[in-house]
């Protein structure tokens, strides 16, 4: 399976098991979503469980909060993460805080799915990585898979979780892993071991990172598309780096991160989002707090620039192999 198929399969498996799961969003019904993540679900589960919505993200999430208060488990899609801002208030002030403000009387078990990230010439309105906005909000879980296998297991966990989850899907790798060399053809998922996705139900727990590649000299923390970019750069660099795929940003697997940095003494955090106040700042702080005495070099951040996402200069914005390669050199020389 590629990542889209894995996501589709996760929703399918969940809907089959739980009649309270409902899928909504722009174009998700008959058409199956602009990326086809919900393809076939309406045919299988009917129009009252999978349906299109008006183009109002605030409405999509607001309605989902009400459905959750009724007792359903909505899985709304925001067509692109760039369009999640109109829904921000319903996510941040409502879904995220409902359990807290009602002391558990009401909860919002909603999984907001949304394709995010760049690398598809989507310009500044189809490329953003707004995860840092959501990790900053108390009461939200934020999940970002990097392989089809993880995408399915994590999405099932998210849908079955009783808290609101923001599930960002790195659209650059929907169809295959991507090593950051934009001029090279994308390898299809079919050639990757993580494409062996079981048909049935399985979970990957939220809050558990994966060690993609063990190593002794350097720890690289990544998620989503950047996991594949980092893997490629490590292979080329000759540095024995440990690559950790965070998978869940909140809750974060601090144990795995801290154990790794204590072992390697060096750390680079990588993400596509802009640098200032990005999740990399949080990671780098946590590493300092937990591993200061083991560190042999300052923690480095490799990120997108603090500009809106440019269309034609996309590949100068994207934190690709060159930027990461130089950071590795810097950290290893320190």
């Amino acid at each position: 399976m590629n990542m889209i198929q894995a996501i589709n399969s996760a929703i399918d498996v969940c809907m089959d098991r739980d009649p309270d799961i409902i899928v909504t969003g722009e174009d998700v019904g008959y058409f199956g979503g602009v990326f086809k993540a919900t393809e076939g679900l309406q045919r299988k589960y009917g129009k009252t469980r999978v349906f299109d919505t008006p183009i109002t993200e605030c409405g999509i999430i607001g309605v989902a909060v009400g459905m959750a208060a009724y007792g359903l488990r909505p899985v709304p899609e925001i067509q692109f993460a760039d369009y999640i801002y109109p829904a921000l208030d319903q996510i941040v002030s409502e879904a995220a805080r409902l359990r807290y403000r009602s002391a558990g009387e009401y909860t919002a078990p909603i999984t907001v799915r949304s394709p995010f990230g760049g690398g598809i010439f989507g310009g500044q309105t189809h490329s953003q990585s707004p995860e840092g906005i959501f990790t900053h909000v108390a009461g939200l879980k934020t999940v970002i898979p990097s392989t089809p296998y993880d995408a399915k297991g994590l999405l099932i966990s998210a849908i079955e979780d009783n808290d609101p989850v923001i599930f960002f899907e790195p659209k650059r790798i929907y169809n295959g892993p991507f090593d950051g060399h934009y001029d090279r053809p994308v390898t299809p998922w079919a050639k990757h071991p993580a494409s062996a996705v079981p048909e049935g139900h399985y979970r990957i727990p939220l809050g558990k990172a994966a060690i993609v590649r063990p190593g002794d000299d350097l720890t690289i923390l990544a998620y989503g598309t950047m996991v594949h970019v980092a893997a490629g750069v490590i292979a080329d660099s000759g540095v024995d780096a440990e690559l950790i795929d965070l998978r869940t940003l909140v809750p974060l697997d601090i144990e795995t991160i801290a154990a790794s940095v204590r072992k390697t003494g060096r750390c680079i955090v990588v993400h596509e989002a802009t640098k200032t106040s990005g999740f990399g700042a949080e990671l780098s702080s946590l590493v300092q707090e937990h591993c200061f005495h083991s560190l042999e070099a300052p923690v480095q951040r490799v990120t997108g620039w603090d500009t809106p996402y440019p269309h034609s200069l996309e590949w100068a914005y994207f934190p690709g192999p060159v930027r990461l390669g130089q950071a590795i050199k810097r950290v290893m020389e320190d």
Partner: protein, 423 residues
């Protein structure tokens, strides 16, 4: 391009900024109001097409006339018993507001909001609903809980954020949540409850349930995007929902003109969405009951949503933090041409021989005593003025279903901090 216009000698454009008719010091004169006579508005069948109901978005459904008689097709023909229960809930709400307002002034809590003058809106409306119907209130619908006979002491514990507060002292006073009463947790962010109510109603319909939902907001809040998203959803999916707008003329210091009232009515918002709209005399408990009953039957019959504008007046300040004499004529309240909702229902009950002044005075005493007793009970569990009543651990609870490591760490840190500081 600018040059094209330069030679045309056009008059300069002007920006219209709405201004209310009266400001402090002005005499309030409402003779410009066209108030249709009671009984004038036809009562459409519950499956009427929204298109055939346009007039109802611009008119005013009224049942009680100037003498206190119930007239016309909207008379809900309620038993005197039911009317007396509605009256009592309205009086109880007013007494509750009085007491809690005073409690705030005495420093027992931080904040309070009265609904004085608006008791004729949500209380009769709640009586017209089934107990299982879900209410997504704004902050001025304390009457819903009272009409559902929710314990006053429980509400007060919330206001005092004391040890009996079911919300663990987390919400500002009056931001109740009462799941058992079908009352949704109140948000401070205006109008967010609107799409949520529609979502609840859609879920109920999708599940083949029979319960419907209602939403409440003020006329000022209708300008929020959530309001319009909600109407779109309600219309598109024919959600079994009643969307109430309480037009009490003021949003803090901004008069209804800033939400668009100079151009049209709030019920007419329904027209553009193809929803049934009813504009109702919000100080007429019978009209409100009848409109809600009609809308509930319509929703339950799968004929879709209704938007009800309750045309009323906020007699008191916006909240305890507000001084209305700074922005509106002091006379407005008494000059308000639709009267006081309690006085009007009382006059009707006297008119039909079911009530008299003595019994009314006795009832006022009883409800005041009921409120006093509840306050005593609540105050036994503490008041906000005495400081913090919740165990400190509770601060970190309910952020998530299970507490993640970073919250456990922060909780431990807080305890260590307090211990080190000797507190």
């Amino acid at each position: 391009m600018a040059d094209d216009r330069a030679g045309r000698n056009l008059p300069p454009l002007t920006l219209h900024v709405p201004e209310p008719r009266f400001r402090p010091g002005d005499a309030a004169d409402f003779t410009h109001f066209e108030i249709p006579p009671a009984g004038d508005s036809p009562r459409p069948p519950i499956d009427a097409a929204p298109d055939d109901m346009r007039g109802h978005s611009y008119g005013l459904v009224r049942v009680l006339d100037e003498q206190g008689d119930a007239v016309g097709p909207w008379d809900p023909r309620l038993s005197p018993d039911r009317l007396l229960r509605i009256l009592r809930h309205m009086a109880l709400t007013r007494a509750f507001d009085e007491r809690m307002y005073r409690a705030q002034r005495q420093g027992k809590t931080s904040f309070y909001m009265k609904c004085t003058g608006e008791e004729g809106t949500c209380i009769p409306a709640t009586h017209a609903l089934d107990r299982g119907d879900m209410v997504f209130p704004s902050y001025r619908q304390q009457g819903v809980l009272i009409a559902r006979d929710w314990p006053l002491a429980d509400m007060m514990c919330q206001i005092y954020s004391n040890s009996g507060d079911r919300l663990k002292g987390r919400q500002m006073p009056i931001m109740y949540s009462a799941r058992e009463a079908g009352f949704f947790s109140i948000s401070g962010n205006l109008a967010t409850q609107y799409p949520q109510a529609v979502g609840w109603a859609m879920a109920s319909a999708a599940k083949g349930d029979t319960r419907i939902a209602t939403a409440w907001c003020g006329e000022g809040s209708t300008a929020e995007g959530d309001f319009h998203s909600a109407l779109t959803f309600a219309s598109v999916y024919r959600a079994p929902v009643i969307l109430n707008v309480v037009n009490n003329q003021w949003a803090i210091s901004s008069f209804s003109g800033f939400a668009g009232a100079e151009a049209t009515t709030f019920a007419a918002r329904a027209v553009g969405y193809g929803i049934a709209g009813l504009r109702v005399d919000g100080n007429d408990a019978l009209a409100v009951y009848a409109a809600t009953e009609w809308a509930a039957e319509r929703a339950r019959g799968n004929h879709g949503p209704t938007l009800i504008e309750h045309f009323t007046y906020r007699s008191e300040g916006h909240s305890t933090s507000d001084d209305p004499t700074k922005y509106r004529s002091a006379e407005e309240r008494t000059a308000w041409p639709l009267g006081d909702p309690i006085a009007r229902l009382k006059a009707h009950l006297i008119r039909i021989g079911a009530w008299d002044e003595d019994r009314h005075a006795a009832m006022d005493k009883e409800v005041a005593e009921e409120v006093r007793a509840a306050a005593r009970e609540a105050e036994k569990q503490g008041i906000l003025g005495d400081g913090m009543h919740q165990p400190f651990d509770t601060m970190f609870e309910d952020v998530f279903e299970e507490m993640p490591w970073h919250l456990k760490e922060q909780s431990a840190q807080m305890h260590a901090e307090r211990e080190a500081a000797g507190i």
